[in-house]
Symmetry: C2
Subunit: 301 residues, 2 copies
Amino acid sequence: MSAKLLSGKEVSEKMLADVLADSEALREKGIIPKLAVLRLGEDPGSISYEKSIKTRMAKSKIEVESIVMDVTVSQEEFVAKIQEVNADKSINGCLIFKPLPAQINEDEIKYLLAPEKDPDALNPTNLGKLMIMDNKGFFPCTAEGVMELLKYYEIDVKGKDITIINNSNVFGKPLAIMLTNEFATVSICHIFTKSVKEYTLKSDIVITGCGVYGLLTPDMFKEGTIVIDVAMAQKKDANKQFVLDENGKKIRTGDCREDCVEKAGMITSATPGCGGGTGPITTALLAQHLIKGCKMQNGIE
Amino acid sequence: MSAKLLSGKEVSEKMLADVLADSEALREKGIIPKLAVLRLGEDPGSISYEKSIKTRMAKSKIEVESIVMDVTVSQEEFVAKIQEVNADKSINGCLIFKPLPAQINEDEIKYLLAPEKDPDALNPTNLGKLMIMDNKGFFPCTAEGVMELLKYYEIDVKGKDITIINNSNVFGKPLAIMLTNEFATVSICHIFTKSVKEYTLKSDIVITGCGVYGLLTPDMFKEGTIVIDVAMAQKKDANKQFVLDENGKKIRTGDCREDCVEKAGMITSATPGCGGGTGPITTALLAQHLIKGCKMQNGIE
């Protein structure tokens, strides 16, 4: 029996429709939701990312203001700019592009951006809000994307045994907290876990995000398990060489091997045939967060 | 075979000796470590707690300044007082006594106390620092106490299977993060877990903190398991009636039943005969945190 495919794209479309409605309602009140992107220098990757953010935000009727500083900017100038962003009532959120140049002390910077203008959860205060379930916080998007997927498909996690394979700051740790906040029983596995399979085999839900194609295989979980794979990987063979498609291109996958779909009860993964993964939700969350921040800052809801 | 008893008292004595040495070194530099306690009103329990803090801090040569405000204080006055504490260079840390009266908005207050003057981890920013392993943070004392115990007895957690029975903001959640930061494989159980025993039975280390005598029994773990019980409970019988000692007094226990000591490899618990529990470490951490804050604020180390 083949798994029900969970579509991150479908979830994101619903989210973005809600975001657009909220954005339009704000505009009717004379409030223009605006995201600032703060970029140092002219790195082509950053410029391209900035363009894609503008395209995406436009779909949610969110303005984007580019703030570009020279890559040689001093810590003092950079700090002053962030304080300016914090004080600017027309800006509802700010993305600070990384990596930052060596003269910038990121440890200082991340605590400086106002938590309510931090849709990307750069400021650790937002992670602290997650720990105490303060819903005014912004949480890391990939982790929150899993919660959005579960909510959309009405998958109740209370009392469920869940294994997360990943313990990073941006995914495994915040997701474990979100899931225990909902009273799932959560196990956090990683590279030093003695036997990941011992955990996944007894889980109702297995969540992975390692970027290693083939990390999750059907022998590792029970028939009917819900598999959520947020990884972005490329297919490699047993000799760790890239597998190419008929056009000579690398094949995008998640952590799942293709045959996971035959044993799981529900699945989403970037691995072909497995529902596509949660990437589109992660992307939609940036817009959702910006609108949430805009509403909070304007005392709406 | 009976378990090796882990003594929270022994750990705390070593910690307090280190704290005292640090405190004396600071005084030699002309720096007087000082804790402020901010109390609203004359609640007898709070006054008694304040006295015990003074006695304890005196042993570490830490001054205690009592700041007492009327229980009818307004939010504005309370906020102003905390800002005063934040700005006062002679104060290295502040405990805000709870519960706060109804007119005080605790949600605002907790974000207000400067994180570096927050030895009790009231400010969620300190929990965020824990998430990203920023060691300048202050972490909840009962959770950190477990880490101190493990360190003192040289119990390496990397790759170990560990079950925590508790998912509270002040214990289970922060401890899970601390342990995964050290690459233990952590499972977080609680009241809605289908089978706690399924987790504890395969664990190398079982950590409990529920306040329910008899919650942990030897059938729930393997021979040789390390059992750490931070709970403060009182012994009850099968009918949930208090069991009294020969003097008619209630019997202090942890979550462990007495016979856990016969099967565990190492144990600490407030249950009689089980090593005493981690309470003394929790207490010592307040002094340790105050000294750490004092050093940070004075640019030492």
